[in-house]
Assembly symmetry: D2
């Protein structure tokens, strides 16, 4: 990281500020939904967590100049650029945070790693296993030179998920036998909803499976320490044509009389066998759908073990349900833990007990962990290797679905 | 289908029934809602609980001959009568179960006790403290002759309440500091709903306070073992006139253009100081209302103690929430105990784990406990003395309300 | 208490009972858990529902004389028998209610139908498709002679399920796209739990799939009016050996050092494609397990449609969650309907609003519907044909599981 | 507001930023819990809401130099000061945001208003009615000069509360008859917890009543538009002595053997009569306690009306329960609205549907509304007049409690 100009001058009244912290100069690629979330995290994390360096929101990069400039102003970056390669060539930049569409991840990430930049890359790592493998190779090579990389499965940073992981890893629910992981959304439930780029395979890469199912996979493995070894999958597209909007792509606007073809999965289901960790020999059932009417962001995880169970729903992300089968007979029940205690991951740095956090906090946690890893010289998690593994699971699900749900091993 | 002989004759194959159990001959006074519930209980309890005697549903008593006969057939009693005094004079009757309106309780119960009949009397014990005191005097005298009496606070027999009591009495929530007991119903929320006898003080004796608030009082004291010693109360009648029905009294029928005066409380609130048991020095807040829109039978009890808490809602009567403040930091939460385990009160005699019970089961539990007390020669609970105490609390609340909510001691 | 004459003689005052209703004489085969539930239903249904005939609990049949006699006394039947064929030969018997183990269903049901008895047969209809098909053939033939038959999928009689069906059939949730039906229990979660006959395929026929998964299948089809046409299934036995009890079979007793082989599925998952009704083209995901720690009787059904959704959990059986996507934007949400209103199926005959019912009430509803069908001369539902269909689904799941989860059509 | 130095210089590559927005220079007084929350809000609001001016986090003020400097760095302010009067004298300052202890509010706020600074003052407005009245007088006078003031009842800015208000004001729950507003915390449940300044009346002014009960009062009035006109109150101190910490005041540290006197209320209950708005003639029941074991931040509001009801719990702040009694019979139920839709207040500016917000967002909403009011020249809400009214209610509750719960009018 570079030690940038401190620029404080003597304060009114002759008081001076202490010497500034060393700074970590960040470039953000992309300014959509994820760009907004990451911007808020880079701005917020250093205010709540004692980072060893001060992140500097140096440059935001987008293809379109005026839109990128608007994003710069809104999200609070120092400058806006349209040439990501030029930004990577800038020696002042320490970190490249990739929030652009998945199809661009491989090229940017590999170039950044080769340029010696630490990389935080949004999920999915890439749109194909091949690209993900190349990125992972680059990441492994870069790590040997002290260059760090991390893939953004932000839900690992939900405090309730961290608590779940601690309980499971400590054996509090015993041998996990079954996992149920559903990611339920409903924004396609209305068949007259418009066509969007997310429903076009050539643009989006995948449908609900890759977009949201990936989170379910990562969380089950993260919490239990087990890995999926084979899957049996099914994909379905319920509505194959949708009205095109006048502007052709957006989620809002005026519908035209033309219709576009939906070429991704609307919903995906799969079973998987798990090996290792606390879930060795377990079976996981997974679902990812955009047709679960009434479920807005219903990522639900339930793990059933020989001594207990845990249950989580992202719509109530400050809560974890924990069933302790070691409690006295007659007193057992799913306890609703409000995960806002100082004992809970990250929570001591936010607000007093009982004061909840929201979605964007996960990205502040991610930035905190990423910066801690960078400054302490360790590899952050989840690594690109883990991201690649998730891609391989998604790929196996697709191949299984194309093969009549035949059980398909994960390479 | 065949029209068979109603009474069994010697069995095919020469098998004979074993000699019958000694029987306990029951007379039921009243055939309204409570009469129906008690009938089902007398019929059901001996099928699920090993009673020492076999209750016999001998006679049902009502004022109106044809209606009583219809109730006899529907509820399954042997015969119907209109003269309760004649029934009390029948030496074959062992038990008198009083489900008639509160204004008749004192006369019937005292006569029955003096006639040596065991008495189960629905709550409220009476419509006035004076009557309740006379009944209690009679009950105490009768007890010395081995004649038993019990008042029907059936919610004591909810298994979740029994579990709550066990936990509280065992110190699992420590020193109880606060009780919150609300009984929320909504059948008066619509101001155009008709006038009914329940809203006429001369007929009903009281409004929501006596009808449902009485349960809240009894449960808090039953669970904690503490007694209310003084109260500060407020009563309110939100809608003072309601349309009369053509038939003048019912809850259904055609509304007329005339309006009747509501002369009871629509809602009641009071605070009370508790002494003794697990809640010595605690403060309880109580509410009883028929205007809690959307709450159908919302009797909710929450007890907060130095080491934990319990929470209950009658609308989900198979559940108890228990918070154990002695659990490790970070793992504490209200646990939802599904109260269907064999370890839970009464439940071993019903269905397997996870199979729930309903409202009327409480009366089967009541009959079971009453019969057990009668056959084992002990006084059942709750006693008339306890019923009198509840009447005294209700009376003190009314007096406090009339005195500007001044704190009023319970005699 | 007095030891009274068991049979009524002319009443005091010369009153006589009215002439008895025509009666429907019932024989119950079996006296286990289901025998107890059916007994309570035969006793209770006529007290709450105005049946055209009075059911008579004539005879209970079991293999073991003393145990059957004990059941007779406990459950309240007139006489006990050990020879079911003799009972079927008795012309006084109108109805045969089969609650014996599944392996005996075919023989008894076919004989009963041929003897002109109306038959109520517990689920599963049989332990094999072949037997179920024979039973169905017999039932179809009997129906032509006015002899009725019904299979006991009692959960159809949950009022909340009836409400769900009404809403779905009326189009209130639009085109159903996805069904999620899980039946979660946990009584095998502890791997040291003992071996029982239910885990021995030669005795139980199947594991969780047939025992509880069958309910999930029936409910999804019942509510939507759709039929499963093909399935992809997976079965798993997590714990393959369990300690034998000293007495070899029971769920309680002293564990011995010997271990028995578990030969049925511990858990089953399958996806199915639905055709017809409100769910034409939908995909259903199903799970049945005895390893869902903390879930005691968690039969959960969620249906997602183009205009709404419904959700149900048997552990809270008096509730239905309904999401109306036609509600104004910003006001949509899953509503918790407390299904205790007179507008709800069966509920007008029980208790006032807000007073809940329990598990056994479902059987009273079943008896009510069965008797109504018998007396009004129509075929009750679910028919043996429907029971056979469920067997065929179960069979297809097993075949799919044996074939690597290949999609398998339902014949 | 002043147009401060823009300080951007030509960017690398010759690009220039657009001319900066006019800025609004803010001074924050205090750096405790509220100071942290307000800091995050001043930093965040302009990134998510299109404010007409850019707030500038100019100066943070505290008594202790080093601690204030540490806060400056942590919270991200430009400079730190210890002399608030000097800051008020600085013409560059536009806004004074008062987060210091309640005892200092009156002096600072009045001076700031007289100096022409817009004032945002945390609740409670003051520690006494007298001070609050003086502040209100100053605010009214200042408003005539275009100087704005606002008191920080931040819970008004919960989107679910805004939705509740809209529904209630639109008549969707009809005539409100009852309000139940409880603020339940449990941090004093353990009687061995240490003495703290919050339990010393001379420092804290009041206990649970003023600290958290004030929110309950404000919300009921805000949602319904009604005002409390009289109250009957009770206060209780359950634990009158607590161990002193070695350092005498904090919430952490080593307990000493000495004990301090608790001189504020541990819990408060009161009933109030409401007049005006949607709750004319209603009765509200209120509770504020720090002894509700297991409730961490349980601010619950339930309003029962003639046509519906709403229910809210701050622990699940992204949800609102709404009961619509105008829905068809049999379909009514409390709906859980996930308040994350673009139709909901403030939410269009945050994340997509289903992505929740947390506690601190309320302060961003507050800053947004405050800045909007300042820049558009209208008086923001809640005004000091409203804050004074809440103080008068609190004072009446205390006087009622001292007078045996006698009904006491609100001046």
């Amino acid at each position: 990281m570079s030690s940038v100009e401190p620029h404080p001058v003597p304060e009114p009244g002759g008081r001076t500020q202490p010497p500034p912290k060393e700074r970590l100069s960040v470039a953000l690629i992309g300014h959509g939904f994820m760009g907004a979330a990451h911007s808020q995290a880079w701005r917020t994390a250093p205010r709540f967590f004692p980072l060893a360096v001060e992140p500097e929101m140096s440059v935001i990069v987008g293809r379109d100049g005026p839109r990128t400039e608007a994003a710069r102003e809104r999200f609070g970056w120092k400058r806006a650029e349209t040439d990501w390669q030029a930004v990577l060539a800038d020696p002042a930049i320490d970190v490249v945070d990739i929030c652009s569409p998945g199809s661009s991840h491989a090229e940017i990430a590999i170039a950044a790693l080769e340029a010696g930049k630490h990389v935080l890359c949004e999920k999915p790592l890439a749109n194909s296993v091949e690209e993900a493998a190349e990125m992972t190779e680059a990441a492994v090579a870069a790590a040997k030179r002290g260059v760090r990389s991390m893939v953004g499965f932000s839900y690992r940073r939900v405090p309730a998920i961290g608590l779940a992981r601690s309980l499971v890893r400590a054996g509090r629910i015993g041998q996990v036998r079954q996992a149920r992981a559903l990611y339920l959304q409903d924004w396609l439930a209305d068949e007259n909803g418009p066509m969007t780029w997310r429903l076009d395979r050539s643009l989006a890469g995948s449908g609900s499976l890759g977009d949201i199912g990936a989170h379910a996979i990562d969380l089950v493995e993260h919490i239990t320490g087990a890995s999926l070894t084979s899957v049996s999958g099914t994909l379905e597209t319920f509505v194959r044509e949708r009205p095109l909007l006048a502007d052709g792509v957006g989620l809002s606007g005026t519908a035209s009389s033309e219709r576009g073809q939906v070429t991704v999965d609307d919903a995906a289901w799969f079973l998987g066998r798990l090996a290792g960790g606390a879930a060795d020999g377990a079976v996981g059932s997974f679902e990812a759908t955009r047709y679960a009417t009434g479920r807005k962001n219903g990522l639900t995880i339930e793990l059933s073990g020989s001594r207990g169970a845990i249950a989580f729903n992202l719509e109530s992300m400050n809560e974890l349900a924990f069933y302790d089968a070691a409690a006295p007979a007659g007193e057992q029940g799913f306890g609703r833990i409000l995960v806002t205690e100082p004992e809970h991951p990250y929570m001591a740095n936010w607000w007093p007990t009982g004061h909840t956090i929201g979605y964007e906090h996960l990205f502040s946690h991610e930035v905190k962990d990423f910066v801690d890893a960078v400054t302490s010289g360790v590899d952050p998690e989840p690594s690109f290797t883990e991201g690649l593994h998730v891609q391989r699971v998604l790929d196996a699900v697709e191949r299984s679905a194309a093969d009549g749900s035949a059980w398909t091993p994960i390479p």
